[in-house]
């Protein structure tokens, strides 16, 4: 191509090229200059840094109200808020980089994993001071493999079969006690012109909850936890039984489950177009925001009477301290505050769909849904944290999500899905 003749294109004169280059170099120093006054994190012992994934407006304001109430010893909290999903994605790099003193996280496998890798600070002393504010099950969920505590619970929310009271009253539905009753109920809903089970699997994780419920009811808590730890055979008869049961539910599923977001599915329940949904109280509660008193739930029905409905899946959100924390004292004080009833109730004022973790909380401020959740969780013999928090996250996000998607897209592929899961489990858990 011929060289463009001079004058063909508008040109910059030499001075402006120089200006641009200098401006460029100057701008590179701006972030440094702008940060000049802020000081590095935690150098000031009056400040506690707080890594937060409460990124959306409602939780963000709620947590801010909580932090504003922290008045111990004249300490102030600087919050570093990152988008919820990004925070989780970056957690490994974050903890090895220069993490904040205190950060939000979840109970379960991942928490234990960080502890065993030396990324979390042992806060057993804080736990001793907390005394009997928490149940044995909650303490167990906050304990690492070495028997020390690393996590402080904040709130939790149960997973169950949720429905709209008014819709069920209108058609005269009753909560199913057994799996057969569930199938019958679903067929009745279809006959009445509703979608039986609202399903939104576009984000990949919601149906992991359904797997958990089916496995807990079919094979019990101990087998479930063992399977999550990679110690059971995915190709075995027990897991196959779970999927056989699942196949019976599939005719009740909303169509295009794989292409719909769970928010839209929940909106269908709210609008009276869908009969019921396997989901967590926090998720569907936020969709029912204006009509919360219309939301009700029942336990996922019994499949094997040996287990009944003894296990409740109720993920716990809370906080941990990083091993590299700069202000250890301040951090522990913040954790103590966050574990207190006042802090938790302050948060729940903006989120009336979850329940506080602290047992000493005054339930007078709870709405009907929350009171039912408290009773539901307290009656549980075992509590699980949800599949992606109970097992290796790579296995959950990669193998399980995609395997279940494949099954939902083609239920007859169950054998190849299970052998795929078995191979990946072998590769991830022992390899």
């Amino acid at each position: 191509m011929a060289r463009p003749r001079p004058g063909q294109l508008p040109t910059l004169d030499r001075r402006s090229v120089l200006k641009v280059l200098l401006a460029g170099a100057g701008l590179a120093a701006v972030p440094g200059l702008a940060a000049c006054g802020s000081g590095s994190s935690g150098a000031d012992s009056k400040t506690v840094t707080f890594g937060s994934n409460y990124s959306d407006p409602v939780p963000r304001n709620a947590i801010k109200a909580v932090l504003d109430g922290f008045k111990t010893d004249g300490l102030t909290v600087t919050a570093n808020t990152k988008d919820h999903n990004t925070f989780q994605q970056q957690i490994n790099n974050y903890l090895q980089g220069h993490p904040d003193d205190v950060y939000s996280w979840f109970a379960g496998y991942r928490m234990r994993y960080f502890a065993s890798k030396g990324l979390a600070l042992d806060i057993s002393d804080t736990w001793t001071a907390l005394g009997d504010s928490f149940s044995a099950a909650q303490k167990e969920a906050s304990t690492g493999a070495d028997g020390k505590q690393y996590f402080v619970p904040f709130y939790s929310y149960p997973w169950a079969l949720f429905y709209s009271k008014s819709t069920w009253a209108k058609y005269g539905y009753q909560p199913p006690k057994t799996f057969d009753e569930l199938i019958t109920l679903g067929n009745k809903m279809k006959a009445d012109g509703l979608t039986a089970l609202a399903v939104g699997q576009a984000d990949g994780w919601p149906q992991l909850g359904t797997f958990d419920q089916l496995n807990l009811r079919t094979n019990g808590y101990d087998f479930h936890m063992s399977l999550m730890a990679g110690k059971e055979d995915w190709k075995g008869a027990k897991v196959k039984a779970v999927f056989d049961n699942w196949k019976r539910m599939l005719p009740l599923y909303q169509d295009n489950a794989l292409g719909r977001k769970w928010e839209d599915a929940a909106q269908g329940v709210l609008a009276g177009k869908s009969g019921m949904m396997v989901i967590g109280s926090q998720q569907i509660g936020q969709q029912f925001a204006q009509k919360l008193d219309d939301l009700d739930f029942c336990a996922f029905p019994t499949i094997d009477p040996q287990w009944g409905t003894d296990t409740v899946e109720a993920p716990i959100d809370g906080f941990m301290m990083s091993k590299k924390a700069v202000n250890v004292d301040g951090g522990k004080k913040l954790l103590t505050y966050l574990a207190s009833p006042q802090a938790q109730l302050t948060y729940l004022k903006s989120d009336p769909t979850s329940i506080a973790a602290n047992a000493k909380v005054d339930e007078g401020t709870y709405n009907a849904l929350q009171k039912k959740c408290v009773q539901f969780v307290s009656e549980a013999k075992h509590i699980t944290q949800f599949l992606d928090r109970d097992t290796d996250p790579g296995f959950a996000s990669d193998a399980m999500t995609n395997g279940i998607n494949k099954f939902l897209g083609d239920p007859n592929s169950v054998d190849s899905v299970l052998s795929g899961l078995a191979e990946q489990a072998k590769s991830i858990f022992t390899g």
Binding site: A2, R3, V20, A25, G32, T86, G97, E263
Partner: protein
């Protein structure tokens, strides 16, 4: 083709008869224009659809669906996106990353192009090949070791308030420079090769060192190419998505592509709001595009058409 051969061809060939190329309106032309107009309408449809959605309220589309006449058209979404997502702050972040990155990239690549095009060293070809190949690698291939390098490299606090290359905007600038230098070097080398050697010879004989030759002779002549590349690089670096996720840990330091995530709720997505926010975020590139189209085009083509 160099300017010389093209000129000589035009001199010897018969003069093109302008009458045959006039703007005449016949059936072929009408058909052509119709086809082009239809194609362009179809082409713009997706973008217009997003613009349409962004001007409607959430309640409106939730009740009536998107494929309906709007009850009202409003700027609310744009205002909410601007304030709720704190867009001005993220725009500034993006500028702080993009402008220095573009400037330094052009600076570096023009220097390398100068050396490679003016002087024949043995390593010239290898160097050029290394740079060009480096630009074509997929980003995922280098993400993990890059993170490690960044984690371990300390920086003075005036360059990075985290104290390290990791989680600093300077770090993002640096990786953009490293990645984009290849393409710009390639383009500028080709461009500089068309500048006659006599000019730098003359300057050298006049006593100018290589630095002066570069700064006062070659660089001014490259203005069109530099402008073109600047436009192109601005767009590419601005639109980048992956590096911030890997290399930035503090929410407040992220460029605008990540800020849009704040708009979609943890548990809920308002498509109209996200559409408005995305369009706002795309505005700088669109402005640059419309204002500097010719540079953009020549930037893309300078690197490719070796006449």
């Amino acid at each position: 083709m160099t300017a010389d051969t093209l000129a000589s061809r035009l001199v010897t060939a018969p003069a093109p008869s302008l009458t045959r190329q006039g703007n005449r309106l016949n059936a072929t032309r009408v058909a052509l224009h119709t086809f082009l107009v239809l194609t362009c309408l179809v082409w713009l449809a997706p973008l217009l659809w997003a613009v349409f959605a962004s001007f409607r309220t959430y309640q409106d589309t939730a009740t009536n669906g998107y494929f309906s006449w709007p009850r009202e058209l409003t700027f609310t979404n744009f205002v909410t996106a601007w304030t709720q997502a704190d867009l001005p702050h993220y725009f500034l972040n993006t500028l702080v990353i993009t402008l220095p990155a573009v400037a330094i990239t052009l600076f570096f690549s023009s220097m390398v192009a100068f050396v490679v095009s003016r002087f024949s060293f043995r390593f010239n070809l290898t160097l050029l090949m290394v740079f060009t190949a480096g630009n074509l690698l997929p980003q995922q291939v280098i993400a993990v070791p890059l993170y490690r390098i960044y984690l371990l490299t300390p920086l003075p606090s005036w360059l990075s308030d985290s104290g390290y290359l990791l989680d600093s905007q300077f770090g993002l600038v640096l990786i953009h420079v490293a990645f984009q230098t290849g393409f710009c070097t390639f383009v500028l080398t080709n461009y500089m090769k068309t500048i006659p050697k006599e000019l730098t010879e003359a300057a050298r004989v006049d006593g100018a060192g290589v630095l002066r030759q570069y700064w006062q002779v070659i660089l001014p002549l490259c203005r069109p190419a530099l402008a073109a590349l600047a436009t192109l690089e601005f767009t590419w670096i601005y639109n980048d998505f992956l590096w911030a996720i890997v290399l930035i840990q503090t929410g407040d330091k992220m460029p605008i592509t990540s800020a849009l995530n704040n708009l979609s709720g943890q548990y809920f997505t308002d498509n109209n709001l996200v559409a408005a926010g995305s369009l706002l975020a795309a505005l700088p590139t669109l402005v640059v595009f419309f204002a500097l189209q010719r540079q953009f085009v020549s930037g893309l083509t300078l690197g490719s058409a070796k006449g």
